[in-house]
């Protein structure tokens, strides 16, 4: 009944999303086209048309496509986690790293890897780690009864430092021959990503959960009291956001390790152009985060091929100057 009306009244919301979706599609095509083996456009089209040589089919459909999709899904998850954490903390500079979420996930995942567990168990451990970090941070920050974003942020920063120390400890006691792999994983690396479906389905699930919450999140961004006064059940909503951010971060971390800056940068940059309507920012963050990581991973695969760079290096190299520039501009 309201459906038609929703669509009619929202071209303003959809315009940028159409462009971002196009960019996402292009980034996927680019990721398919580029690799250490050069393929001609004709060969590319042949494979996409369901034809082509066996080798080319394998390269495109078994190697590049799953990896490009995994990159897209991971970027989308990281950007979504960032956008959610920023609303949760009422701080445009928050991201899953700041609150120790990814730290908890990384420590648990590393420990599981060291114990020789399989990928499914590593994912489970990462989620447990992110959740444990969540509970500790929220539990401690809540201790005095007040639950101000500042207190939360401070607790999270300290927790993140603690996780960092544990990561260093795990690296120090792990076998030398496994160090390079663990280090690459910590730097953020899609070379180990298996099937793209976990990240993609969690991204879809996350979007399905947050999209109906869009306007509510807009209200929450104005502060907890203001949101409560406008009819938002603040505490349950904040828990939902934190749990969702934990799940999303854990899945992203198990797929690609710690890829920095996507969660921080993407929502922040989009906000400069699109304002802060979550109904626009959240889907836009997913699309832009996915596109960014797909492009970054394509660079990581091809820049010095056949040597492979971890994608986290690319996002950080792009992210740091971009972020400093934005910060500089916002001070004016």
């Amino acid at each position: 009944m309201n459906g038609a009306r929703v669509l009619r009244s929202s071209p303003r919301l959809r315009g940028p999303l159409v462009w971002l979706a196009l960019a996402a599609l292009l980034s996927q095509l680019l990721a398919l086209a580029l690799g250490s083996v050069a393929l001609s456009p004709g060969e590319l089209v042949a494979v996409l048309a369901g034809d082509g040589e066996a080798l080319h089919r394998t390269l495109l459909l078994e190697l590049r496509l799953p990896r490009a999709l995994a990159a897209f899904g991971t970027g989308a998850l990281l950007a979504m986690a960032g956008a959610l954490m920023q609303i949760l903390l009422r701080n445009p500079l928050a991201d899953p790293y700041v609150l120790g979420l990814s730290g908890g996930a990384s420590v648990a995942a590393l420990a599981a890897m060291l114990a020789g567990w399989g990928m499914a168990l590593v994912s489970g451990a990462a989620f447990a780690g992110a959740l444990a970090s969540t509970l500790i941070v929220f539990g401690l920050a809540h201790g005095g009864g007040s639950w101000t974003p500042t207190r939360l942020l401070l607790t999270g920063v300290v927790m993140a430092a603690g996780w960092g120390a544990l990561i260093t400890f795990l690296l120090a006691v792990s076998p030398v021959e496994r160090l390079p792999g663990m280090l690459y994983w910590l730097m953020g690396d899609l070379a180990y990503a298996g099937s793209p479906w976990p990240v993609l389905s969690v991204a879809a699930l996350g979007l399905a959960v947050v999209l109906p919450l869009g306007r509510t999140l807009n209200v929450l961004a104005r502060g907890g009291l203001q949101a409560a006064a406008l009819g938002v059940a603040v505490r349950p909503l904040e828990w939902t956001l934190y749990l969702l951010a934990s799940l999303v971060t854990a899945v992203a971390v198990t797929t690609a390790g710690s890829v920095g800056f996507v969660g921080l940068m993407v929502p922040h940059m989009l906000r400069l152009r699109l304002g802060n309507d979550q109904r626009r920012i959240l889907p836009a963050s997913l699309l832009a985060g996915g596109t960014l990581l797909t492009l970054a991973d394509t660079l990581a695969r091809t820049l010095i091929a056949p040597q492979q760079l971890p994608v986290g290096v690319i996002t950080a190299l792009l992210g740091v100057p971009t972020f400093l520039y934005l910060l500089q501009r916002s001070q004016r």
């Binding site: 309201n2 009306r5 919450l213 961004a221 104005r222 009291l225 304002g275 802060n276």
Partner: protein
């Protein structure tokens, strides 16, 4: 819900929770439709805490607040937000937003999750912006506004919400003389239309001029309340602010000036 007694916002035996302060005198007061309550008191007397408690945003230490005969705790937040509107003194403008978007969030309690704001909601927000002389700023970013303009946007948001009970914390904060009067006239107009208004005020003379009822809140938790004319005695006010006052009568209302 028997008769008029239960209508409006009613505090029974209410002790607000200011940490480290004795209970003082429990409050028993009713903000009935059409009344304009002013809350006066020095800094730290608990005016904002009282307002938040009356809005159900903070639990009281003792007693109960009810709306239309039902305790606030038993209201669903969303249903409550359709009846109670709060003008906050503190604001969190960490994220970019335009003036119109900000006014529009007043419609939030009335819209289901999937529903976009429609033309009717936009019209309400634009009316509210026009009423507060903000139409020309509708597309501006909040961050570019002056303090007074920002304050008027807050009033416009609650006007868009159109609640039965207004709870306003320093509604004239940052406003110039003209807009102070405009803001008080707006709240008085709301009361005339049968809404209840309760506001914290710093300015004695605005309170004397615009409020029908007053609540004097002392820092030690003591309080007294009643119709404005009964409360505006120099002795009580001097004790309230610990400041000698000179009283004059102008335009049919008392005017209080601090004595030198």
């Amino acid at each position: 819900m028997s008769g008029l007694a239960a209508r409006g916002l009613i505090a029974k035996g209410l002790v607000i929770d200011v940490p480290g302060r004795p209970d003082g005198r429990p409050l028993d007061l009713a903000v009935a439709p059409g009344q304009r309550w002013g809350v006066l008191g020095p800094n730290g007397a608990g005016k904002t805490t009282l307002l938040h408690t009356l809005a159900g945003l903070r639990p009281p230490r003792a007693g109960e607040v009810s709306l239309d005969g039902r305790a606030l705790a038993r209201w669903r937040r969303r249903a409550l937000a359709r009846r109670l509107g709060v003008v906050f003194q503190e604001r969190h403008d960490d994220f970019p937003a335009t003036v119109r978007e900000t006014a529009l969030i007043g419609r939030h309690p009335f819209l289901s999750p999937w529903r976009q704001e429609g033309p009717e909601d936009l019209a309400r927000a634009d009316d509210a912006l026009a009423r507060l002389e903000l139409s020309h700023l509708a597309e501006r970013e909040l961050a570019t506004l002056s303090g007074g303009e920002r304050q008027r946007v807050s009033l416009a948001t609650v006007l868009t919400q159109a609640p039965d009970i207004w709870l306003a914390d320093e509604p004239t904060n940052h406003l110039d003389l003209h807009h102070q009067v405009a803001a008080m006239a707006l709240l008085a107009g709301q009361a005339e239309r049968g809404r209840g208004v309760i506001m914290c005020l710093h300015d004695l003379n605005l309170a004397a001029r615009w409020c029908s009822h007053l609540l004097l809140l002392y820092p030690d938790g003591q309080a007294c309340w009643g119709p404005a004319e009964a409360m505006l005695t120099p002795a009580a006010l001097e004790r309230l602010y610990d400041q000698r006052l000179v009283t004059a009568w102008l335009d049919g209302a008392p005017v209080f000036v601090p004595a030198r």
